[in-house]
Symmetry: C2
Subunit: 320 residues, 2 copies
């Protein structure tokens, strides 16, 4: 019998899970709540129980499972151990070892959630057709994942791809969640975009349709920019400049084939990628110009696709 | 008989060559002039002839050679072909194929010279004991090489590690050799360091021992800084800030274990690495702080050591 891959995307609110066929196709997707009580001690047992129930209901035996791939919101070393997940109440947790014990499934590979999402987008999303990509996720924060020659670049402490914390403004007075000042995340996250717009509205008397809104969102700014509001356009331009500059830094380090932009903010669409690309090219030497700039396409499923690919990489390739 | 590795470091003025034993030790080093006439058509035949003469004089047969590793000053793809070497008058040259034909030695691996130097420093130089390093060479220009898990990270167009062309000043009026403005190289190369000091001397009336010198060199600035000259100290501080910031960008992308600083400017020593490290930590999130900062130790031999390692990596490991 062809083997099944189990994919897990462990988030701070829900755990998304999926079964993938030997051809890399989704058989089933489901999710459970992430129980963070008591330092997150129930999380892995809950996941194991949910997987075993799902396998049982489909008459799939443990020996028919190739393995479990799991993405976690923290720095991971050796595809096994997470150093810390503040969001889950976890310190150092041996995720692979514990899931092996709880399920009897021997092969478990663990990776950082942003890295796993990047792998998923490379495999079946916006980065399809490429094998070296950088994914940037513009959501509540700014996440990043680096894929080189089809594999996650983890880094020596599991902190590669932390693009959101590249310093782009040496004069920022406010402090980022990471403790530094002037990180990309402070300008390019959904909250950062709104904060910058509010700063701009306060700093000038310039007329803007943004002034009419009671609660400003990142979507409002893109919507008004598309309608031609000058201040909103300026905000989009500044955002694109910050992202284009940062991605140029990244490119001069690893020279990927493509950039994939995901997260809620990326729903703005082409207005975002086209402007990022323009600034990227301005800040890149000739050999590094003209990369592909793609929007992510898998949305919240990027994680389980990436986790499936993490565990099944060579296996899928042989069967497709 | 244990096999011999041939190492070549092809530069714009000279070609450095070496024979390495199966244990990775230098048997012999020598160099020839780089003949750049007629679009560099003599370069590879000259190298091949010199290698064959050296092998003959030592009674080493072609079948006793494991292979040739060669570093070239241009972007290399697939460890075979260089896309362009402006310094040599070369366009696209199939270096591996040509050297194979000219010598009869079947295994030839080609890499960018800065990458090869980084590999050499990781193997037997300042980066010894690490397997993921970034090397920055501060010379006439600013070069860079990235090693991840013991191997060169080449990039999709052979342009990974082009750290010298990361944009660090959006307001620079002058143009870099690469055509952009505000590249690290414009401030951190030997010429850039002098140019910045001249700018500072012009911009203020501040007393400085640098004003007494007829021709200013990067070495003068470090020497005067060590003697306590305030303007020279300020220049060293600015240089360290620029380098620390840029290396933090690099680290948030690939999270290496160590940075190795080489090139003529690195002869300044600890005053350079200690100050770079201070700024690096200021611009890095916690998970990325406290990397090792080392000075390169192989000098002009880094290239041949790296070329030897390029061809003999696994071979040496089995025999040491």
């Amino acid at each position: 019998m062809d083997k099944i891959c189990v994919a897990v995307d462990l988030g701070g609110t829900t755990v998304k899970m999926g079964l993938f066929s030997s051809k890399g196709e989704v058989i089933e997707k489901w999710e459970i709540v992430t129980r963070k009580e008591e330092c997150g001690k129930y999380i892995l047992p809950d996941i194991a129980e949910s997987i075993m129930n799902e396998l049982k209901s489909r008459n799939i035996k443990v020996e028919d499972v190739l393995g479990i791939g799991i993405g976690v919101p923290g720095q991971v070393i050796e595809e096994k151990t997470v150093l810390e997940c503040v969001n889950l109440g976890w310190g150092r947790v041996k995720v692979a070892e514990e899931l092996q014990k709880l399920t009897g499934i021997k092969l478990v590979k663990v990776a950082n959630d942003a890295n796993v999402a990047a792998l998923g987008e490379m495999w079946k999303g916006g980065g399809e057709g490429f094998n070296s990509i950088v994914m940037v996720t513009l959501g509540t924060g700014v996440g990043g994942g680096v894929i080189v020659n089809g594999e996650i670049l983890t880094g020596s402490n599991g902190a590669a791809g932390e693009i959101g914390h590249i310093t782009i403004n040496l004069n920022e007075p406010d402090t980022c969640n990471c403790g530094k000042k002037g990180c990309l995340e402070q300008y390019a996250s959904a909250t950062g975009i709104v904060k910058e717009a509010k700063r701009a509205l306060l700093a000038t008397n310039q007329a803007s349709s943004l002034r009419d809104l009671q609660e400003l969102s990142a979507k409002d700014i893109f919507d008004d920019a598309k309608k031609g509001d000058e201040l909103a356009l300026l905000m989009v331009d500044q955002l694109a400049k910050n992202l284009g500059l940062t991605l140029a830094h990244v490119s001069h380090t690893i020279d990927p084939q493509a950039f994939v932009i995901g997260g809620g903010v990326s729903r703005a669409g082409d207005i975002l990628t086209k402007n990022i690309e323009m600034y990227y090219n301005a800040y890149s030497m000739n050999a590094l110009k003209n990369k592909a700039f793609k929007l992510a396409t898998l949305g919240n499923d990027a994680g389980i696709f990436g986790s499936a690919k993490l565990i099944g990489a060579d296996y899928f390739d042989e069967r497709i």
